[in-house]
Every structure is written in structure tokens, then in C-alpha cells.
Symmetry: C2
Subunit: 154 residues, 2 copies
């Protein structure tokens, strides 16, 4: 169930497919020196184990109309409201990630907005009413980089 059960072939496959979800498995097979059926089964196994949680296309947020991105640290009024706040946050389309964190904030969320004014609207009209004592906004004005974790089961 854990990564201890994964061998080098699994690692090689994951490395080849993780940044290109539409790579033909036969191409992976050729790279790995095994049959296409083997890759098919291995990938199926990785899905069944939950190692592979799914696949997605990566879209450019700006090009679909979201020019502003921010992390917002949330301070809850009452700690007992954690779960209900999270539930409400999940309903807000612009809130794309949410973490329970240690440190100064109770929750940390990632928010996209059409522009700065739209972000302000989201914070004031959507977030504040959920029962927050305070919020702290970290605007991301540049995505310096983004990459994948290393994969190595050797």
C-alpha cells in the first residue's frame, strides 16, 4: 500500500508519465524495455494502490480570465467551527486549495480572482462572513516556478 512496495520499474514509469499524461503507454513500454501489456498492468496497479490519484490538463489561469492569485491566512473566531468553515470554503469557486496549518494561521487557502478588485470582493463578501476573526493576504505576483517531487524507488 505504501511506496515500499514499488520497484524501479514503477518509478521509471511514473517518471515518464507524470509530466505528460497523454504519452502513449507503448512508448513508455519501449523506453522501459517491457511489453505494452506490462505498462498497462503496472499503471492499473498504481491507480488501484492510490499512488496515481488521477490526471489533469494544466491550464494557464491568466488565459482563462484569472489574473490575480493570493494565499490567504485565516484566523477563525472559534476553533470549533473548523469543519463547517472548510465546508463553506469549498463552495466558493475561486478558493482552489485549503490546508489546516500550524503556525500563525488556522487555515491557509489559495484563491484565484479575475483581478485585484475581484479578490477584495471575495475576501470581504465571501470569506469574512464565514466567521473569521481576521485574514491576512499574501498576493502572489509571480509564479517563480512549480515542479514535481523526485521519484526514486531504487
Amino acid at each position: 500500500m505504501a511506496y515500499h512496495d514499488l520497484d524501479e520499474l514503477d518509478g521509471k514509469i511514473l517518471k515518464l508519465i507524470v509530466n505528460n499524461a497523454r504519452i502513449p503507454f507503448l512508448e513508455v513500454a519501449r523506453e522501459c524495455g517491457v511489453s505494452g501489456a506490462a505498462i498497462h498492468q503496472r499503471v492499473q496497479k498504481l491507480v488501484n494502490l492510490g499512488v496515481i490519484k488521477g490526471s489533469e490538463f494544466i491550464l494557464d489561469a491568466e488565459k482563462i480570465g484569472y489574473e490575480t492569485c493570493a494565499y490567504v491566512g485565516l484566523f477563525l473566531v472559534s476553533p470549533s467551527s473548523f469543519d463547517s468553515v472548510v465546508k463553506e470554503l469549498e463552495k466558493i469557486p475561486e478558493v482552489v486549495e485549503c490546508y489546516y496549518t500550524t503556525g500563525q494561521y488556522d487555515l491557509l487557502i489559495k484563491v484565484f480572482a479575475k483581478n485585484n478588485k475581484d479578490l477584495l470582493r471575495i475576501i470581504h463578501s465571501q470569506l469574512q462572513p464565514l466567521g473569521l476573526a481576521r485574514t491576512e493576504t499574501l498576493m502572489c505576483f509571480k509564479d517563480a516556478f512549480r515542479k514535481k517531487l523526485p521519484i526514486d524507488f531504487s
Copy 2:
């Protein structure tokens, strides 16, 4: 070049493929009531426009050996060192995201580590030597949710 050039069919296609990069385009075609060739051309157009930046498989970080996740806010000693620090950060395998932010931190990074001890090692041995005045660690002890931005060009 922007989302203003995208129509409802583009939106429908993106909605169908964004959470499943391996969906057959012919299935998308049937859902949209157009030919496979049309989907093929549209997707190609979206890639050329940069709306689609790529595709990926989503892996479970825990299941490939990374049990700890944290955001770390960085305070630089000197503002002039931004770019060189970012360059060095990018070389650290465990640092998967990096943002220039407004607010209290100069930079905000997302870090995965094998465990808490490993995270401490990364912060002390890898991050601190880069010329940081201070760091502030927000451990993520639960990933409450993670979803996609809404797509709507109607």
C-alpha cells in the same frame, strides 16, 4: 490570445478534459456533438494559445514517501538577491512551488519532506544558507481540499 477568444465549445472541451487528461477525444466529441477532428483541432489551438500548458498525472505524495508538507515564508537578507535565491531554491528537489509575494514574506515556497526531521534538515541545511534573514514555517497537517477553477466562456 486571451480568454476572450474562447467560445462555449472551448469551455465545454476544457471542462471535460481538465480533470481527466486521458479521456478519449472521441468521447469528448460525442459529448459535444461535433466530430473528433474538431476536438483535435480545438485542443491543438488551445495548446498553441498557451491556454493548455500541459498534462500530468497526480500522485499521492504520501504514497511516494513524502509524509510532510509545509509552506515556508522567506525573509531575504538583501532584496537584491531575489533572483539568485530563486535559482538556488529551484535546485532543491523538495521545494515544489515558489512565489514572489506581497505581505510579510519576500518569497513563499511549498516544500515536501519525508518526515518532520527531514523538513528540519531542509530548512536548516538547504534554505538558511541561501542568504535568508529568517523563515517562518506553516506546516500543512491536512489537505482539506483541492479543486479546479471554474471554466465559463458563455
